[in-house]
């Protein structure tokens, strides 16, 4: 609390909160019974999840042929969803790790939820590489473990093996980081709750936290170290995911621009998803004083920046294709923009490049309804980005005789819906069981800009 804040800074938390207010505001909803809207939202999400789970079970029993894939198009909805969800996760890590290292105090209001979102998104993402396999019961073969099959080992040249490492590392670190951040709050909950069971559980997970100076010191060191560990993951995970495509020989995939382009896209989509969730949460959970317009604006600015990078990447791809003189490459991009999947391309381009430009206007980015619709568009656009990259390159590659089209089956659509069901179900459970905002960290920034409050 020794920092000196500029008098020009605006406060991060409104409403002149005391420490007790913060604890009460954030922890009280957990004491109450779930509200009707919560139940409705949960039932809808859980039904979506059950639908998806049924589809996946059907697919596992009958065969992956229940998806719309074919000899030419080996990946479609599956990997699109995978990359989409992995991308979503990136905002959480960026907020919690990078913004932490950059001492961006405003992150404290959103980092908990963003990190939770990361974990749930990575869980959704992780399902797809497993169920997309022809024999998912053998998925563990991509892990290099000592075995009795003689010299059989994984292929370290395969980006899918890199993916396996990248995703599992990402999930582990995100989970640990999130959990470590939760410990002080779990202790707060332990101390507040009257239920014996809850007390036991919160007590167990708060690892005997006693709030002493020493505990805080250790905690903050660990947190800093973990932030340092998680930071490279923001860049590495999506870089590796992009290598799935970039290391191939397929026109439209084989591009060196992919790593930065994918990382920017991931941050872009992640912030859109964080905003989508936060705008709902602050309204429903009455957290307007914690997640303020200032937060929304800050995130909108990141979205404008990353939208610029993504738009630049789209156009650079065209330039590279034209400049390369490679007729296959050229055709792929003309086909992308004007071929049979042009509708998907233009959805992507409009949602990701045109729509975010509206956020340049302060009026629009402070109008929460507008922002909400814009970020929904971005979510849609970023899903289509992955769809376009995968589909247009696979459907029409080198030999025209093997060109093919693709359309999803009901099983694929249901699986896609199911992943959203899983994501929202988990997020809703999270909202009921754990503090949505980091109580400890918010308390630390209460003083920020306080003197300037009217």
């Amino acid at each position: 609390m020794s920092e000196i804040y500029s008098t020009l800074r605006k406060p991060l938390i409104l409403g002149n909160k005391s420490y007790a207010d913060v604890t009460a505001d954030i922890a009280q909803p957990l004491d109450r019974k779930p509200s009707l809207p919560w139940w409705i939202a949960f039932l809808v999400s859980f039904s979506m999840f059950i639908l998806g789970a049924t589809a996946v079970i059907y697919q596992l029993f009958i065969g992956i042929g229940t998806w719309g894939l074919n000899n030419t198009v080996g990946w479609a909805f599956d990997i699109t969803n995978f990359v989409f969800w992995i991308g979503i996760g990136h905002a959480g890590t960026l907020i919690s790790a990078i913004l932490f290292l950059f001492r961006q105090k405003w992150r404290t209001s959103v980092n908990r939820s963003a990190e939770a979102m990361t974990i749930f998104a990575v869980m959704c993402a992780g399902i797809f590489p497993i169920i997309h396999m022809g024999r998912p019961w053998l998925a563990f073969w991509v892990i290099p473990y000592p075995n009795m099959r003689g010299p059989l080992w994984v292929n370290f040249r395969s980006p899918l093996v890199w993916d396996m490492f990248a995703i599992s590392a990402y999930f582990t670190i995100s989970l640990v980081f999130w959990y470590v951040g939760l410990i002080p709050d779990l202790a707060t909950l332990r101390d507040r709750t009257v239920s014996k069971i809850k007390k036991k559980l919160y007590g167990f997970f708060s690892l005997g936290w006693n709030g002493s100076n020493k505990t805080w010191r250790h905690y903050e060191t660990v947190y800093l170290l973990l932030a340092g560990l998680a930071t490279p993951l923001v860049v590495s995970v999506h870089t590796i995911v992009s290598w799935d495509f970039a290391t191939s020989v397929i026109p439209g995939w084989h591009a060196t621009i992919f790593p930065p382009y994918f990382v920017a896209g991931a941050v872009f989509s992640g912030f859109a998803m964080v905003l989508t969730l936060m705008l709902i949460v602050r309204k429903v959970m009455h957290l307007e004083e914690y997640i303020t317009l200032h937060h929304v604006e800050a995130m909108c600015k990141i979205i404008i920046a990353t939208a610029g990078i993504v738009g630049m990447a789209y156009m650079t791809e065209f330039f590279t294709a034209w400049y390369s003189g490679n007729e296959y490459e050229r055709f792929t991009f003309i086909n992308r923009a004007f071929g049979p999947y042009a509708w998907a391309y233009w959805i992507m381009f409009s949602c990701n490049v045109f729509v975010p430009q509206l956020l340049w206007s302060k009026k629009i980015r402070t109008n929460l309804l507008f922002v909400f619709f814009i970020v929904i568009f971005i979510n849609v656009g970023m899903w289509f980005e992955r769809f376009v990259i995968i589909m247009t390159s696979l459907t029409r590659d080198y030999l025209p005789a093997s060109w093919a089209s693709y359309s999803p089956t009901s099983i694929e659509v249901a699986t896609f819906i199911g992943s959203f069901g899983l994501f929202f179900s988990l997020f809703l459970l999270f909202a009921r069981l754990l503090p949505m905002i980091s109580i400890g960290e918010v308390k630390a920034v209460l003083g920020y800009g306080k003197n300037n409050q009217q």
């Binding site: 065969g63 992956i64 042929g65 074919n70 073969w141 292929n155 030999l399 025209p400």
Partner: protein
């Protein structure tokens, strides 16, 4: 019926009983463990354990794991190709061409390849029946002899109605039968009639015969709608001969000039140097025009005929070329009208082709049908003048236009006997069914071309109680001899005695031991070729007597054509052939009404719209297919569909809730269009004038293996570049003679980032070269590969979803010019076994790896099915098991190759360059302590190819044929420029056409 088969299966060879779903190794262990535990506790009954009983006394020739080969003759059609049947553990599992066979020269077509599966048809009739009730052969014989005798006493007419009979034994038996029962007459007809060619020769040469065409001798080939590379008379023989006249890689390259006049797009037309689109009537006019021009050159006169300017001037040029190539040209017509065929004879006569390219001295027996005699028989039947009818090898209720009436007439007969072994349309009207065995289970013989005798020998113990036609006829004459005895008897009498002494025979003096030696060698070789005495026949019709062709044209004409593999419908029950993509349209599991692009536009029809086609009181509803290059006035529909019994394919392919059935429940595959055939001027006409076509507004999905049909990218995505993908190298013969590298793509200097070669290939380095100039696109290799490599059936819906499993496919590209003409390229495509394979690096579990002999190997049991390899394959030749695909029913599984693993669902597979064959030869060579001889290893596709377009070999063997091909200036690699180093190379396609005659120019 199926129960009977199960019993047979179990009786046959215990160690080869079909896999029972119940007990496998795991279950066995489970059950064993459980029963052991159970016995300890309370003496539970152990589960059923199936025992495999080894041969106590090993039959001679049967060594587990070692195949035996038997020479026999293909029974797929009447062409008489030589077949070597590969037997494993007492059952045939693969058919291959006999290398030095006088007819087929080593190739075998798709029908021949698939004929194997027909042997294991579980719905085949395998015991005699009377009025639908199974009876014994003794009862059959008693009933028939009784009836025949009473008919004989009443003077009733007895008729044999058969397809073309090429068997000398059967012919002589029918003759003998006729002596016994003098009211007998033998009528032959072909489902795909060539009657007019024989009739025309009766007119012009005084003998009703089918010439033996010698395409290898012809420098100029003019075909008027004769699909001689695909379906006409003897396609394997003609393909081989056609390619013999187009050898580019000798010191003196030769390339015949082939012109095809046609109204639909046939396989032959797609290979022609010049393809002229004409309506059926214009084709007849073109024949007449050619005849008159040639006649004028020969100093004779003939009626000329008017054709449009461009065609007219082309025919004038063509006549010049024909005249210049007198004696070395060949003019053929596939049309079945006597007038046109007479003119064709006239042309060939004036050009001096008789005796060179048209052989009537040793004529062909491959088609002997006589439409006139059939018509007489039909009239007799109609008037109730026939007492007894014996039917063999034909299905008149199905393939005659008045089929249903024929069935009614059959009911009135005193005796109707059918030799068919299929429960077909005619069988249901026959009183007595005396099923003959399938070609692979019986002795038979044939004389497809005068002087060439081929042998059919059984390669498996017959299923059930069948009897060959020869045996049945001999039984009814009171002899009861076996087929083997009858054939031996016949050959001793009429073949052995004609054998010249120099061939090791005894001349005219027959001796038993000498005959036995001759017989043994004939059975071993599968054929005997005799020099028979030549009968000279002269052209006897005066030139003025050549009549004019039939004239008459209408807006829309219907053309009925045989589709490669399906022919007249006799193979409709063979799922391999139903699932074989048509060589031109690439559509499977359906017939359809083809219309040209312009006509489709005019009528507002799009692909898959159900159209109603009406002509002369008959109408049919079929899905439309838009066929570039077809004549605008023509609607072409394939014969051979809508066969009874094809409803069995309802359940073919995976069953899941979004799957469409291959055939609607109770429906048939395609529709029968035989009712449109017209009997006109003494022959069956396959083209019909005055046809109405209308859109019904309904839709029917057509499953096609290709979605994009041109090497050009779609025009609207191609701003001004005219991009044509550099995948097929093409040039003209003239340019090739000047510069053997003509047509080559720009050379790319391939750079690599690797400092050392990662693969050393110190031993063998397998590779392949495919000559695009030889490949006709006939698709024999596709079925051959399917049989060899246990490739499953996927059904129509899966093909529609682009999930066909064939390891080799034939890519077919059109170049369409604005006036609607097309040029076509065929390109076989399979795993290219890249030296720098993109699939290998991306597999996370090393399920696809490079062998030290250059093979890209797929390790099935390691594959987890990420499909990344397939995505990263620039050729898209990898095939994924989306479901647990079937290999047909339990019986069909007997045709599986035991050397090849059955792939379960969820794993990737692809061409292995027939690694099992490589290994087999390597082991053999090692046992014999020698090196592998060049050409000793033949992958299934290369072996089957009638054109010998595929060469396999060792790239490290500098003397091999493959290395010779690789050093050929025509050699190139597809997509070489992306640096994958394919081991399969292609050779430039050379057309004998002018620079300007390219549709894409």
């Amino acid at each position: 019926m199926s129960n009977n088969y199960d019993n047979i299966l179990l009786e046959r060879s215990p160690d080869e009983a079909p896999p029972q779903r119940g007990v496998n190794r795991r279950d066995f262990l489970k059950i064993a463990g459980f029963s052991f535990g159970g016995a300890l506790v309370a003496g539970c009954k152990p589960g059923k354990v199936e025992k495999a009983i080894p041969f106590l006394v090993k039959p001679e020739e049967v060594t587990p794991g070692v195949s035996t080969w038997y020479a026999t003759t293909c029974g797929g059609c009447s062409a008489g190709c030589g077949v070597s049947a590969k037997n494993r553990d007492g059952r045939p599992i693969k058919l291959e061409g006999i290398t030095n066979h006088p007819i087929s020269k080593g190739g075998l077509c798709s029908v021949g390849q698939a004929h194997l599966l027909s042997l294991y048809d579980s719905q085949r009739l395998i015991r005699p029946s009377k009025d639908g009730q199974d009876i014994t052969w003794d009862e059959v014989d008693r009933t028939i002899i009784e009836k025949l005798d009473s008919i004989k006493n009443n003077g009733g007419a007895i008729r044999f109605l058969t397809g073309t009979v090429t068997s000398p034994t059967v012919k002589s038996l029918i003759k003998k039968f006729t002596e016994n029962y003098p009211t007998t007459k033998h009528v032959q007809y072909d489902g795909l009639s060539c009657s007019s060619i024989l009739d025309a020769h009766e007119k012009t040469h005084g003998a009703r015969l089918l010439p033996h065409y010698r395409f290898d001798q012809a420098e100029v080939i003019v075909s008027f709608d004769a699909d001689f590379l695909g379906t006409w008379i003897s396609p394997v023989e003609f393909t081989s001969a056609y390619q013999a006249g187009r050898t580019l890689d000798e010191k003196q390259p030769v390339c015949s000039y082939h012109v095809q006049f046609e109204s639909r797009v046939s396989l032959t037309g797609s290979n022609a140097d010049k393809r002229v689109r004409l309506s059926p009537d214009e084709i007849r006019k073109a024949i007449q025009q050619t005849a008159s021009l040639i006649a004028a050159k020969a100093g004779a006169t003939s009626v000329s005929s008017a054709l449009s300017g461009e065609t007219d001037s082309f025919i004038k040029q063509l006549a010049e070329k024909l005249w210049d190539a007198r004696g070395k040209s060949l003019v053929v017509s596939g049309g079945n009208d006597v007038q046109s065929q007479t003119q064709i004879n006239y042309i060939n006569h004036l050009l001096g082709n008789y005796g060179t390219t048209v052989d009537i001295e040793q004529p062909s027996n491959q088609k002997q049908g006589n439409d006139n005699e059939l018509q007489t028989l039909l009239d007799e039947m109609k008037n109730g003048q026939v007492a007894a009818l014996f039917i063999q090898g034909v299905n008149p209720v199905y393939d005659l236009p008045i089929g249903s009436q024929f069935g009614e007439w059959m009911k009135k007969l005193q005796l109707s006997v059918n030799f068919t072994n299929q429960s077909d349309e005619t069988e249901s009207y026959s009183q007595i069914v005396c099923p003959e065995p399938q070609a692979l289970e019986s002795w038979n013989d044939a004389e497809p071309v005068a002087g060439t005798f081929t042998m059919t020998q059984p390669v498996i113990k017959p299923f059930g109680q069948t009897r060959t036609v020869a045996e049945s006829i001999s039984a009814w004459m009171g002899e009861k001899k076996s087929s083997l005895e009858l054939i031996k008897q016949e050959w001793e009498k009429s073949v052995y005695t004609r054998l010249p002494e120099r061939n090791g025979g005894q001349g005219l003096q027959s001796s038993t031991s000498g005959f036995q030696l001759f017989w043994d060698s004939a059975v071993y070789d599968g054929f005997v070729k005799l020099d028979i005495p030549v009968t000279k026949r002269d052209f006897i019709v005066g030139r003025d007597a050549v009549p004019t062709g039939r004239v008459g044209d209408s807006t829309y004409n219907l053309l009925l054509y045989p589709k490669a593999a399906m022919l007249d419908g006799r193979h409709a029950h063979n799922p391999w052939l139903q699932e074989l993509p048509d060589p031109v349209t690439k559509i499977v599991w359906d017939n359809y009404a083809s219309v040209s692009s312009a006509t489709a536009n005019e009528l507002g029809i799009s692909e898959g719209d159900v159209v109603r086609v009406e002509a002369s009181g008959t109408n049919i509803e079929l899905p439309a297919h838009i066929q570039p290059g077809q004549h605008d006035s023509v609607i072409a529909i394939a014969l051979g569909y809508g066969r009874k019994g094809t409803d069995r394919f309802t359940k073919i392919g995976p069953q899941w809730f979004e799957a469409e059935p291959t055939v609607e429940e109770g429906g048939l595959v395609g529709k029968n269009v035989a009712p449109f055939i017209k009997f006109e001027n003494g022959t069956f006409a396959y083209d019909v004038q005055s046809v109405n076509i209308s859109n019904t507004g309904k839709k029917h999905t057509l499953a096609c293996t290709q979605e994009h049909h041109s090497l050009h990218v779609p025009k609207y995505l191609d701003p001004g570049h005219g991009e044509r993908r550099p995948i097929i190298q093409e040039t003209t013969f003239a340019a090739f003679v000047k510069n053997p590298k003509a047509g080559s793509f720009e050379e790319h200097e391939l750079t690599t980032m690797w400092t050392t070669e990662d693969h050393k290939y110190t031993g063998h380095h397998w590779g392949m070269a495919i000559d695009l100039n030889k490949c006709t696109g006939c698709s024999a290799c596709v079925v051959s590969c399917q049989a060899e490599n246990n490739i499953p059936l996927v059904g129509k819906d899966e093909v529609f979803r682009n999930r066909e499993m064939t390891w080799i496919r034939i890519d077919r590209y059109y170049d369409e010019s604005p006036n609607g003409d097309i040029t076509v390229q065929h390109q076989p495509m399979m795993c290219q076994h890249c030296g720098n394979a993109p699939c290998e690096t991306v597999c996370p579990v090393l399920a696809t790896v490079h062998s030290d002999e250059g093979l890209n190997q797929q390790v099935y049991n390691r594959c987890v099915g990420t499909r990344y390899c397939s995505n990263n394959c620039p050729y898209k030749v990898r095939r994924f098991n989306w479901f647990d695909y079937e290999h047909g029913d339990e019986m069909h599984k007997l045709a599986l190759n035991p050397d090849i693993t059955i792939r379960e669902r969820g794993i990737m597979e692809k061409c292995s360059l027939c690694v099992q064959r490589i290994q087999e030869v390597k082991i053999q060579a090692k046992k014999e302590g020698r090196t592998i001889r060049d050409g000793e290893i033949q992958p299934a596709c290369a072996q089957s190819c009638p054109a010998k377009a595929i060469v396999f070999g060792d790239m490290n063997d500098t003397k091999s044929e493959l290395v010779k091909q690789m050093n050929n200036p025509r050699h190139y690699g597809v997509l070489e420029e992306i640096g994958v180093r394919p081991s399969v190379g292609y050779m430039t396609l050379v057309h004998n056409r002018e620079e300007g005659e390219w549709a894409h120019v």
